[in-house]
Subunit: 618 residues, 2 copies
């Protein structure tokens, strides 16, 4: 059995619960069937197992280095990436026209889950590139797509997202990178779009420099100076630019170096296989221009993508998918940790069970999986990781509906659901599957704390996920400050409708246990809605949002209870798998869901403890 | 201001709350005063700051290595240790007769806290040695004390505790190391005690090998074969032995190598400055004996400490202190992380506050300490680390009462309180101050995830603490399975008496807020007692103990609420410090204490979810 993910569980989620086969009725997926889905999963599992997993520890021990000129990393990363690209997986979800397979997003994400579970550091390169390509596909011109996207479909180029700066992490309105219109006469009419020169520094750019591909396409948020020559304050001033590491000549071949250079690598606690960079744009190290027939000059040459001032909107277009992707990464790190802990617990003899007459020291030791506290830790992990995987795949399924559902209203509904579920799909796995990794260490005891076992790396790798792509705190503000009130609560209403449909199914059935879950969930859901109203009725946004992180966490547990209820309703039969699903659901409702009650009490009290705390009092 | 610990907070706890000066009325501490306490704290803070903290990261980056013969480590460790020993701190709490200062334990622990906060890896060497020395002082003969303890008082020797084996971690009854009576005619009459040869492997031995001292005194749990030549099963067969790395000749000088050798270093996620070893006893690499006038032979020469079969009892004698020490280490890692996060939050500008009209993007950014969610994270850290430090010092104060209170009943009461509080003092900081370290990373955002900032190391270092000196699960079993029922509930009753005394003081006062806390705490305490009874009324120990970890956590939060109530009652005035204490107490009661309610509900339901989970269902 694989220690990366459970294929059995994936099959259950995809076919028994999420009815992914029904997508084949849609024109886009007409060539597909369960067999083609399984073939893609087979390929992914095989490459992940054979090419990604084996160098996961080696990447951790040998992080990329920078000699001032080039980045060096272990060769296995490039080899794994080539296997991934050769299998066509860069374009798995894309149009046939782009060389893609037109796989449904939900199947594509299930495939990607294998690579992230096997080696999150190496997997980051293709996944960032896929995000970059999707953004350009949505907002770029055909010429931009030809120049920047097609080479990414084969791995010839890779891509990044350049948002943060040293002084602008969570606060993107403070981005200071300037994009100055190119003064040359052809600049506005450049076939790749309006041409600019960029100047500034970008921080935390994953995959910002490496030798894994011929070129790197940076998608950069920058500000075009306003009429007064100054950048427009706030996010309204942000525009999006494509800035290749190497200039693409008019004949399509690669030319000179653009003026974007690596200023340094960040050295992290985990996730070490992925280069994380500080990039300098326009510092004059290179003076590009000649290969485009221009005067060589300092300044990174970039082409505007979409409209000026619409940069953040374009980025947000991709944000849901990027955030769900981060959540999926967190989930599968938790999942593989769980499987490793389970394997260890089944094979490690230690101690004896308590009997009515105490313990018999002369009896042989038992495998630790038989100790109730170890079972608690394993069952908790199972509940976290299978719940989180369910939520991530549910969201991926919604992406398919958003783009391909034949009914327009259903497409709009899917988009609303994605809007409100995304902060949960990102934050919940980042919190609880990280906790699962901690439990996986604990199951291993002292061995888990050593670098001879992989669980400590999962824990270190996973600690990034509550930070990047919007911190935990940012997700809370997004959920409570934006998503639950957007369009007069339309997203919240869409979620409620789905939830009520499932509660109704559970209540209408004959399974008393499911009815019980429905009742418990219904109680919390009503309370959550009431608390949401009370928070917004305060009339003071600072007060409303003060405890947004707690709101996020309570909302998350309620959503996960709903995910577990759905899984419990979807599972059939009485085999070990089905029993395990039911027991994990029992665990979630008995052990986890009740923790939201004191959280909701706190929120309902409009508690000002943290708001009242004065800086001088610390 | 120091980023290691708050001296202001220490002063408050020691003098305003725990009335440590009153200890000076006892004969043992008659030479002491607040001035001598402060002098010891000054020295500790200075050496910790100047000699321990500067190489904390360097130790992490350059962990000890083993060339097959010797262990190599950075020289700063030895230099720090020399400064520590030269200041007389190895013997700070010991008798004058041993070269000690006769400092009260509570002051000694406050001193030690500085070293652990500065560099937990280097601090581990003296602290393990102090534990070793204390055990020998309690159970060794005068000759053993002269031979093995006195050299540890100056750092000439260092000591270890050798309990675990590869196949016996939590389950000490499975220790397989054999101690065979030495066949030489003088063996029983050896001036150092009955002499044995030891054979076996010991795992996870911290400080098990190094070149920091002339000799290493291992205290080893091993089994003497019974009349049938076989080791006695269970813990009843365990005896304790002193096994020096180098033989001490009859004239007191150091002689040949004993037959205990390093088989390998464990490579850990954190705590890297401390060597953690697999030691082989009696594999024949050395054949000691000649320096004692014996025939050279394989087998590590060791001397019995205390009585045969009483090894675990002797170890348990020191277990409370060792476990409180682990808790203190966890606490101060959390504490220094908090201070680092606070410093960062006060200096890092990012974003703007929400006003009635939204945010003004043209205004300058504010320090992140002004964001409510950052304040939440800082206040949570403050509540965890100051609460935990309070509990650890409270326990240290009890150690003083246990040993030096003039009233015999009070000494017995202190021992009972220590028995029941130790699992909390060990586990609660290991859980919540580790969580504080995670919050410290989160406050730093991406920077906190890099190795350029110290918080990620604190987080990695602290992850050991829920594992060693009895895992979290073991602490739960100890608390629920042993401590709350010992002597017909005498320890629980002793704790209740103390708690009721404090509740009474709060209720009798005029502060409505304190009265409110007392009411909240009273409710939870009564519930906890009721749940304890319900658990034991089940009649099935497996069922009673199935959810012992949850019991431990709920019990811990109740105890910490009591600690916070005491601190809130002890703090006077209205300066920033006092306001901060009160706000942290408010936080604990509003945000933390209510989380025990669903835990107590779960326990009261005698939930069998984890017990019912079958191995095949995972």
């Amino acid at each position: 059995m694989s220690l990366l993910l459970s294929r059995r569980d994936l099959s259950f989620m995809l076919y028994d619960w999420l009815a992914v086969e029904s997508l084949c009725e849609r024109p886009r997926y007409a060539d597909h069937s369960r067999e083609t889905f399984e073939a893609a999963l087979d390929t992914s599992e095989a490459i992940a197992t054979d090419k990604f997993a084996p160098h996961n520890r080696k990447s951790d021990l040998n992080e990329p280095t920078f000699d001032g000129e080039r980045v060096h990393m272990i060769p296995e990363v490039g080899e794994a990436l080539r296997a991934f690209c050769d299998a066509g997986l860069m374009a798995a979800a894309q149009d046939y026209d782009l060389g893609g397979m037109q796989l449904p997003t939900v199947v594509d994400k299930a495939c990607m889950a294998w690579f992230m579970a096997a080696n999150i550091g190496t997997a980051a390169y293709p996944f960032l590139s896929i995000g970059n390509a999707n953004l350009l596909l949505a907002h770029g011109t055909p010429a931009q797509i030809d120049a920047f996207v097609r080479p990414q479909m084969t791995g010839q180029f890779l891509g990044t997202m350049c948002l943060s700066e040293p002084q602008a992490g969570s606060s993107l309105s403070d981005v200071a990178t300037r994009a100055v219109p190119d003064a040359a006469p052809d600049a506005a009419g450049d076939p790749l779009g309006p041409r600019y020169r960029l100047f500034g520094n970008k921080m935390w750019i994953s995959a910002g420099e490496h030798e894994l591909s011929e070129n790197i396409v940076h998608l950069v948020l920058a500000k075009i100076p306003g009429p007064d020559g100054k950048p427009v304050p706030g996010v309204k001033g942000l525009s999006l630019f494509a800035v290749p590491k190497r200039i693409i000549k008019r004949d399509g071949t690669l030319g000179e170096r653009n003026d974007v250079v690596l200023a340094g690598l960040n050295h992290k606690m985990g996730y070490r296989g992925t280069t994380n960079t500080l990039l300098n744009f326009g510092e004059g190290r290179h003076r590009p221009g000649a290969d485009l027939g221009l005067d060589p000059a300092a300044g990174a040459i970039g082409w505007l993508v979409g409209q000026p001032g619409q940069g953040l909107a374009a980025m947000f277009h991709m944000m849901n998918e990027a955030r769900i992707g981060v959540g999926l990464g967190a989930t599968v790190l938790g999942y593989t940790g769980y499987l490793h802990a389970l394997e260890y617990a089944r094979n490690r003899p230690q101690g004896r069970l308590m009997g009515p007459a105490g313990k018999n020291a002369a009896a042989p030791q038992v495998p630790i999986v038989r100790h109730p506290d170890v079972r608690r830790m394993l069952l908790a992990q199972k509940a976290y990781v299978e719940g989180a995987l369910g939520l991530n795949l549910y969201c991926a399924r919604l992406v398919d509906d958003q783009h391909t559902h034949p009914d327009e209203a259903a497409r709009a509904e899917a988009e609303l659901l994605l809007d409100i579920l995304t902060p949960i799909a990102k934050s919940w796995p980042s919190q609880w599957c990280l906790h699962a990794n901690s439990l996986a260490i604990q199951v291993h005891g002292g061995y888990g704390y050593t670098r001879d076992y992989p669980v400590e790396q999962f824990y270190r790798d996973n600690r990034l996920n509550p930070i990047h792509e919007g911190t935990h705190g940012i997700q809370g503000l997004d959920l409570l400050g934006r998503k639950v009130v957007m369009q007069n609560g339309a997203a919240l209403a869409a979620l409620e409708a789905r939830l009520r449909r499932d509660l109704g199914r559970a209540q209408a059935g004959e399974d008393a246990e499911l009815q019980g879950y429905a009742l418990q969930l219904d109680t919390r859901w009503r309370r959550l809605l009431a608390v949401t109203r009370e928070l917004w009725d305060s009339g003071d946004p600072l007060l409303t949002l003060a405890n947004a992180s707690v709101y996020l966490e309570a909302f998350g547990h309620v959503v996960l209870a709903w995910v577990w209820l759905q899984q419990a309703m979807a599972v059939k039969g009485d085999d070990d798998f089905a029993q395990g699903k039911r027991q994990a659901c029992r665990y979630f409702f008995a052990w986890e869901l009740p923790s939201v009650d004191p959280q909701l009490d706190l929120l309902a009290s409009l508690d000002t403890t943290t708001l009242d705390m004065q800086e001088g009092w610390f």
